[in-house]
């Protein structure tokens, strides 16, 4: 009875997994599959509808009430269209690539916790297909397999636009995955585990921080506690899923359709679209699990005792998923696409160093909270690292500044020279004062003067 009245009912932990009978696992797997299919259908509808409203237009409103059946109509159309196979493509890879994109996207969802322990047809089971001691790594691994789908789509199409799209995508996803993995580290340090169900459990109760005799209650969701980690994750999840403002792999302004150029609107194209949307849902669900308390109810609702038990948490999870997905749409409506060199420089020179510095800070704070830690050693180490970082930074800053000034002077000198003799740069520049432009002794030939 005491357990029922406890303020935070404990969620399932790793020990609760691996005990389901086969048919329960099958039910869960089928549920996730159907859930994702329907989510893609209505996600597409919602995206089109919401972005139209943001752009002051109606959006789809012909098929069904509020255009709800638009995605169904699109799916039927794609299923009935002729499946074109360009003559010179690598046939096997061209067919398999969309599948390589879709399957890992679905697999990654198997470790997302939807809710606590429930009674399903008389069997006590957690609302999550499975959990691993390294579940979050599994998501990252699946994302990295999904890249192959995009790269191979681009290569096997045998079209320059598609290859360029695939190349852009692989470089972008690999770079942003590093920043993404690093942004998880703070969560791991605080939760002490990589298993998704236990990370959700760790966010049930923030605990307190004893400092100088005061006990400060810590917020329970990591989005508050680890806000830099979350912000970096939010940026990398846009980059990882090739969404605006990082949708350069399919930048239609320069690459037609990017890696999917050669896929006509057939079922393969439908698979590609599905893979992209499921990826978006996966990264959203991971952000909810790691930073927004997973399926746990937000504050005003969580005062109700029944909020975090039974089937209710699935509703909270779903609401959070819709909200995060709406943010994706909001970003798409607000931001322009950035340039590719800006994307790379941002990923490598801003996100990763910031992330590393933040991890150092979090680790230091965690080290202070270890009971019998030698604080003098930690302080000394932290001071040495800090001073070393500043030293290196100042050194590089002065060197870079000097280099930048030299470069500017060189450019200035080159402009000077080019102004005097335009051909000096090696490019065949026609001098702008040739006689036939203005005519040294030009004869006007008026029309109609015979």
């Amino acid at each position: 009875m005491n357990l029922m009245l406890a303020p935070v009912p404990a969620g399932p932990s790793l020990a609760d997994f691996g005990k389901d009978p086969l048919w329960i696992s099958i039910i869960k797997a089928v549920f996730i599959f159907v859930f994702l299919l329907l989510s893609v259908m209505f996600g597409v509808w919602m995206e089109r509808k919401l972005i139209s409203r943001m752009q002051n237009r109606y959006g789809p409103n012909r098929a069904g009430k509020f255009g709800l059946l638009q995605s169904v109509a699109d799916a039927v159309k794609m299923g009935l269209k002729e499946d074109l196979l360009p003559r010179t493509v690598d046939k096997v890879l061209y067919t398999v690539a969309p599948i390589i994109l879709v399957v890992p996207a679905f697999m990654a969802f198997s470790i997302i916790p939807f809710g606590p322990m429930v009674s399903m047809f008389g069997v006590e089971t957690p609302l999550q297909l499975t959990d691993l001691p390294v579940a979050v790594l599994f998501v990252l691994a699946m994302a990295s397999i999904g890249v192959y789908g995009i790269v191979l789509m681009g290569w096997s199409s045998r079209s320059p636009y598609a290859v360029l799209g695939g190349l852009r995508s692989s470089a972008q996803v690999v770079s942003y995955e590093i920043a993404m993995g690093l942004s998880f580290v703070g969560v791991f340090l605080f939760a002490g585990t990589l298993s998704t169900s236990e990370i959700v459990a760790a966010q049930a109760d923030g605990g307190t921080w004893e400092i100088a005799g005061l006990s400060i209650p810590l917020p329970s969701w990591y989005v508050v506690l680890l806000i830099p980690s979350f912000l970096i994750y939010a940026i990398t999840m846009l980059g990882e899923t090739n969404r605006v403002p990082f949708d350069l792999p399919e930048g239609e302004g320069e690459l037609v359709g990017g890696y999917q150029t050669e896929y006509s609107s057939s079922l393969k194209f439908a698979l590609i679209q599905m893979g992209e949307y499921v990826n978006v849902f996966t990264v959203s669900a991971v952000s909810i699990t790691l930073f927004f308390g997973g399926w746990r109810a937000p504050w005003p609702i969580s005062m109700w005792d029944g909020a975090n038990v039974g089937w209710w948490p699935m509703l909270w999870f779903f609401i959070k998923l819709v909200l995060v997905f709406s943010c994706f749409i909001w970003v798409r409506a607000s931001l322009p696409r950035i340039r590719y060199d800006q994307l790379m420089a941002f990923g490598w020179k801003v996100l990763i160093p910031l992330n590393l510095a933040w991890i150092m800070l979090v680790a230091t704070v965690r080290a202070f909270r270890v009971e019998d830690a030698n604080r003098g050693v930690i302080f000394t180490l932290a001071a040495i690292v800090l001073i070393g970082c500043f030293g290196i930074w100042f050194r590089f800053d002065t060197v870079l500044q000097r280099r930048r000034e030299n470069r500017a002077a060189e450019v200035e000198a080159e402009f000077e020279q080019l102004r005097d003799e335009p051909e000096a740069g090696g490019f065949p520049v026609p001098p702008l004062d040739l006689p036939h432009y203005h005519g040294a002794d030009r004869k006007e030939v008026p029309s109609g003067s015979n």
């Binding site: 690598d90 691993l132 990252l140 990295s144 397999i145 890249v147 192959y148 290569w155 190349l167 995955e177």
Partner: protein
């Protein structure tokens, strides 16, 4: 000393392990024999994947997913990136063989023979029971940072040196003094 089960009645796990090993070796052979450049990289993916499967069967989950993440997700992806940036023809290329083919085969066979003899010699009767959960991040982390700190740090410094070396080599605006 625990009882060593007979080789003649393999468990399901051992059969899966052997099959995955066969896949890894077969894929590795295809990497060097296929005539299609991009397919060679993809066979490398299959090889690394099978290796990750082997780790999984041995309950080393963390190592398995890191293998997928690093080797499949980053190393071969960048390899493919490099291939496609320079040349990645569809179909067979005729110029993939060099005159070193027999020598390379000889060296590979000799290395394989050496490794196999060493492993068989060293672990002929060794038998480790597989307990689930031994390969989780916690055990691995405490083992690396308690018992194997020095090799770990030495490897890190080596990788750092390689990283800086690559940057210095590839940048043209750093002049020699």
């Amino acid at each position: 000393m625990a009882e060593v089960p007979s080789y003649l009645s393999p468990t399901g796990q051992e059969i899966v392990f052997l099959l995955l090993g066969a896949v890894a070796v077969g894929a590795a052979l295809l990497v060097v024999t296929t005539r299609q450049l991009v397919h060679a990289a993809l066979w490398l993916v299959v090889c690394f994947g099978a290796l990750a499967g082997c780790y999984l069967v041995l309950t080393a989950e963390f190592v398995a997913w890191v293998q997928v993440l690093i080797y499949v997700g980053a190393v071969v992806a960048l390899l493919l990136f490099g291939l496609m940036l320079t040349r990645a023809p569809i179909g067979r290329s005729a110029d993939l063989d060099s005159g070193n083919r027999p020598v390379a085969a000889l060296v590979a066979l000799a290395t394989a023979a050496l490794l196999v003899t060493v492993v068989i010699d060293g672990f002929r009767t060794a038998y480790a029971d597989l307990t689930p959960g031994r390969g989780a991040a916690k055990e691995l982390g405490s083992s690396i940072f308690r018992n194997w700190v020095l090799p770990f740090e030495a490897l890190s410094v080596l990788l750092l040196a390689a990283l800086i070396g690559a940057i210095v080599l590839s940048r043209t605006d750093i002049r020699g003094r």
